[in-house]
């Protein structure tokens, strides 16, 4: 049984890791929050077959999809994707040589996504019925 106090943590993390990637993903098309291409390392730009803005649009689509999945029953899998994604972003920022503070925050957020995945696992296993043979009640009708 999961401690009820951890239920609120699960929901707070789920909403944060679901809604924020959706908003950030949508903003890759509008650049209202910031100019996202500034965060793209020259190394990533060289490797990308498309322009920096098209690359960020693709990033936006992935973030929106990951955020939506966090809010569905695939929370655990999506949280692992978000954790890996945030670590990739941190790696990209490290290769720019700038924005090291943003990279550090992304690593901590990646650990938060990892905790969401673990909380979801524990929550799901707590809700599953105990394993073992199931006997039909004697009065049941076929």
């Amino acid at each position: 049984m999961l401690d009820p106090r951890l239920n609120s943590s699960f929901w707070v993390l789920r909403l944060a890791y679901g809604l924020v990637p959706i908003v950030a993903g949508l903003d890759k098309f509008t650049n209202l929050m910031t100019r996202w291409t500034d965060y793209l390392s020259p190394w990533a730009t060289r490797l990308s077959p498309v322009s920096a803005s098209s690359f960020m649009h693709l990033v936006g689509v992935i973030e929106i999809a990951a955020g939506v999945l966090v809010l569905t029953r695939f929370t655990r899998q999506a949280a692992w994707v978000v954790a890996a994604w945030l670590l990739l972003i941190a790696l990209n920022l490290l290769t720019t040589g700038h924005y090291l503070d943003v990279a550090a925050r992304d690593v901590v957020m990646a650990l938060g996504a990892y905790v969401l995945a673990r909380l979801t696992e524990v929550r799901q296993s707590a809700r599953e019925p105990a394993s073992g043979p199931v006997t039909a009640p004697a009065h049941s009708h076929a």
Binding site: Y17, V20, L32, R118, L119
Partner: protein, 109 residues
């Protein structure tokens, strides 16, 4: 007793939030203005406290602090990406406080 999978999660959150708060405080410390120096002291203090038996209290403080920073950033028209990451970090700090309290009560019980 906290499940082993959550024990590792608690350790990861505690280490990362303590280190981030200390690094952020040190990063602000060189700034000249009084509000920045005050913020640096608060972040440094909270970061150090995360590594002491006062983890839950420090994490609760960091939750409020991060929410305040997000609000100030939004109201001042600052970068929205920074405010968004402050909100996500606040959710993580809240979870650190809760996990610590549950762990402490399971150890005491």
């Amino acid at each position: 007793m906290l499940p082993p999978r959550l024990g590792l999660a608690l350790w990861a959150l505690r280490t990362s939030f303590g280190t981030l708060a200390i690094a952020s405080g040190l990063g602000r410390a060189h700034l000249a203005s009084t509000p920045d120096r005050l913020a640096a002291c608060l972040e440094l203090g909270a970061g150090v406290l995360v590594f002491t038996p006062f983890t839950a209290a420090a994490a609760s403080f960091l939750t409020g602090w991060l929410l305040l920073l997000a609000l100030v950033s939004l109201l001042a028209g600052g970068p929205g990406d920074r405010a968004a990451s402050d909100l996500v970090l606040a959710a993580g700090a809240f979870t650190l406080a809760r996990l610590t309290r549950v762990n402490e009560s399971s150890l005491a019980g």
